[in-house]
């Protein structure tokens, strides 16, 4: 367990580059945030506007799913490298989650 980090010494140019890259990434995060807000607004508006239930439910569930993907992949960096195993377990968890929810909305009251 003794493996500490190797010391890093970046050149000026390297450092500036990384800083710029991070700033660009941060702008990307802002865009995702704007999209999340936008999706939320649509969802609330749809409900407030009183469309048919059968129309609204699938749409707002889809919007929620998109928002979650944004959170996971942008805010939580699940797309970055070194996240493969984590993604695998998250998806396995979602699979079990899905089975559980399906069961409870279909067969408990039979």
């Amino acid at each position: 367990m003794a493996h500490d980090t190797h010391d890093i010494h970046r050149s000026r140019a390297e450092f500036e580059f990384i800083k710029k890259k991070r700033a660009a990434e941060m702008r990307g995060q802002l865009t995702s945030f704007a999209m999340m807000i936008f999706l939320t607004l649509i969802a609330f508006t749809l409900v407030a506007a009183d469309f048919s239930t059968y129309l609204i439910v699938p749409i707002i569930l889809l919007l929620a799913a998109i928002q979650v993907v944004l959170q996971l992949y942008h805010f939580m960096h699940m797309s970055n490298k070194g996240h493969g195993m984590m993604a695998f377990f998250m998806f396995s968890g979602m699979f079990v989650a899905f089975m559980t929810i399906i069961a409870m909305v279909t067969i408990v009251w039979w």
Binding site: I8, T40, A64, F75, M90, G93, V96
Partner: protein, 208 residues
Amino acid sequence: MDLNKRYTPQTWPDHPETATLEGKNKFVGFWLLLAAETVTFASLFATYLALKDKGPSGMEFSAAGLFELPLVFAMTMILLTSSLTSVYAIYHMKNHNFKAMQAWLGITVLLGLAFLGLEIYEFNHYVHLGFGYTNSAFSSAFYTLVGTHGAHVVFGLSWFIALMIRNAKRGLNMYNAPKFYLAALYWHFIDVVWVFIFTVVYLMGVIG
């Protein structure tokens, strides 16, 4: 690991959260915990869906009659924004800018407290209407689902505050960087759960 080792923005690694084996272990372990939490919340959602609007005969409460969207909308906006502010905090953590990180974390905590305040107000309001925890299967399922999320908010806030105070004097190092990163990850996950709560519980509740 040397706690006293000082870093500058130039010597700070790209991914301080996974730069040490300890950090990497925490990081992977935490994601696995989130996978387990996903199943936990799914179980609570599943139960809520099964018990929605179910109660003793003649129960006067229903999701459609109970929930009010303006409050939920405000809570949603607050929590979403706090997710962004925690992204800012981690952005500064990666740039090894401790002061900015603490400041953004502070904002995140304030937003979280605001969210929590509104939630307490909401619960209190329902209880005054007579919709208590033991009122019906519906009320038990509702409070348990949303309350468990609230408990996560409380835990997340305590975690942020503890980290901020504990490290206020000594700044960022390889030992605490993973902790800050994971606390932020946890905060995002809380937001993920809330997205489903406002959609499934409140929005789908209001339309009946």
